[in-house]
């Protein structure tokens, strides 16, 4: 028996699903088809070329960019998990009055275009360049800011779903030190939110071009643009792979969210 009339009919749902699905899938399939083109026929020649030693020099920027982006992912996740999350826990437990201002600050970057952000960041990166060097990993500080709104929302949603203060006080009364409270009691209960924040950080870092390009750092996206000028096929292959990787991450986020919801329903 169907429950409520405002649930769309299965056929309507199917049509919407196919329409939206094809909107997303068609460009991807076209991209895939492009990478398989070999004159008038189709083959895996461009995919195989990635591993061709003769072209190694051409593709080198991609490998450099990819490894830089992987390092950036890790440092950005560290910023989210080791700086943002503990700060949010502290604000929620000890300084709840600061919550509104923190939320405002955390959501601000979403309204600032990356190019404007760079204008502000340039003088700061001059200082960073002099003190910490010009390594690509230093971009993670800027990425920490661009990731902030998304990471903040997902962590705050997890915090709102549990009674943070009582859990912390219960653990304290049982003899736990503050680091133990955070590590053994709060983190496991905020796991869904922390995981989502980390995966979103990964997705943002993998897709970021403007800041890296304007600050003269090399990451996956700047490398793709560079290589595109010499070999459009390989840059498209890597774009496709990066996109699929992000889809996969979003799927994982969705699944962990569902798991959390299912556990909540048992209550």
């Amino acid at each position: 028996m169907r429950r409520a009339s405002f649930h769309p009919h299965p056929v309507t749902r199917g049509v919407i699903g196919v329409l939206v699905g094809s909107f997303v899938l068609l460009p991807l399939l076209a991209t895939l088809e492009f990478t398989l083109r070999d004159g008038d026929a189709h083959s895996l020649v461009h995919w195989a070329a990635i591993f061709d030693p003769a072209k190694a020099a051409t593709y080198k920027p991609i490998w450099v960019g990819l490894s830089n982006s992987l390092v950036l992912m890790l440092v950005t996740i560290a910023v989210v998990l080791l700086l943002l999350a503990p700060t949010m826990i502290l604000v929620n437990l000890r300084f709840p009055r600061l919550r509104r201002s923190m939320e405002f600050v955390a959501l601000l970057p979403i309204s600032i275009p990356a190019i404007v952000l760079v204008v502000g960041l340039t003088p700061i990166y001059l200082v960073i360049g002099r003190t910490l060097g010009t390594g690509a990993w230093t971009l993670a500080f800027a990425y920490g800011i661009t990731v902030l709104p998304f990471a903040y929302r997902s962590i705050q949603a997890a915090i709102d779903a549990v009674n943070l203060a009582t859990l912390a006080e219960a653990a304290r009364s049982l003899g736990a030190s503050w680091p133990t409270v955070v590590w053994r009691v709060l983190a496991p209960n905020l796991r869904g939110g922390l995981l989502a924040a980390s995966l979103i950080a990964v997705a943002v870092v993998l897709g970021e071009y403007t800041i890296a390009s304007l600050l003269n750092r090399q990451n996956l996206q700047t490398a793709l643009v560079l290589v595109n000028k010499q070999d459009a096929y390989v840059s498209v292959i890597f774009s496709l792979l990066a996109l699929l990787f992000c889809f996969l991450l979003l799927l994982i986020i969705g699944r962990t969210g569902n798991l959390g919801a299912a556990r909540g329903k048992d209550r």
């Binding site: 009674n163 006080e169 219960a170 304290r172 009364s173 030190s177 209960n189």
Partner: protein
Amino acid sequence: MATIAPERVATTVVLDGVVKNFGQTRVLHDLNLTIRPGEFVSLLGPSGCGKTTALRLIAGLEEPTGGAILMNGEDVTGVPTNRRDIGMVFQSYSLFPHLTAIDNTRFGLDMRKVPKDRARTLAAESLELVGLAALADRYPHQLSGGQQQRVALARALVTSPKVLLLDEPLSALDARVRVQLREEILRIQKELGMTTVFVTHDQEEALAISDRVAVMQGGRIEQIGTPEELYLTPATADVAAFVGLSSLLPATVTGGVARIWGRAVPVIGAAPDGEYRAFVRPEHLRVARAGESGMRGTVEASILLGSSRRTELRLASGEVVAMQHGVSLPPERGDEWLLVVEPAPVVVRPLA
């Protein structure tokens, strides 16, 4: 159950002139309270009277603005919560959602670096003590509210804390479970002989399980005493009004004796001669015997309390009084009764 029972001597807890401010507001005024070893003391009062704040100060979850907190003579005012060796059960469900009942219970033992096998045995015993041994591997969301509070109690008891602090642990439960669990708390507390502080706004609960009750009002302790003392000889009008049910009857005091409806009744505490209102308990009103004079009242309502009946009567003056009597007396709405005051000591409040 010998393993959990603390071999240590039960703890004396002293609040010595404790003051607490929240910003500009003073919520506790010079609180002095000594809780004897193994004693079950309740802090009773309406919401906002400071009872929970007092408990949180003992736990170390709040810092006092002034005064000191001592456990067994040792000043623990500056000692953080996790080193006070307390057990606490909270009003809201506080079990760790990601741990099973048994893992929740052994958490405090793990913090104290108790060897794994021993921790598991002790935790299992503690769950058995609260009657939940069979549900040890359930997660909190698979337990009812009452079961969750039992696990919370087991978790608080398992470390044999110096003092057990209970912050309205029963208020979220339904009436039947509440009575059941409070009797169990009392049984376990007596069995283990642990010094216990219990915060509640429910006077029936406080009177039923405490060795002594501290009635709080506006950040001060109005009176501390056994349930009988509070009920029979309330120190102030506030205590008389808060503990138990009373009818307020006009009284004329001369030389420490009140005249209520023409009968002499002793007054508790000092009251200068004058006009007052007296707090008269329902069981201290009765129907006049033949030949006795009294006050006429008309039956308005009557409820059966089980073994007795409480009837409300309207007097000619328009006031409504409550009296308690045997079930055998059949009240009918509109019946006219002649009422008499028993000469049991009363508390009086000035008219103004």
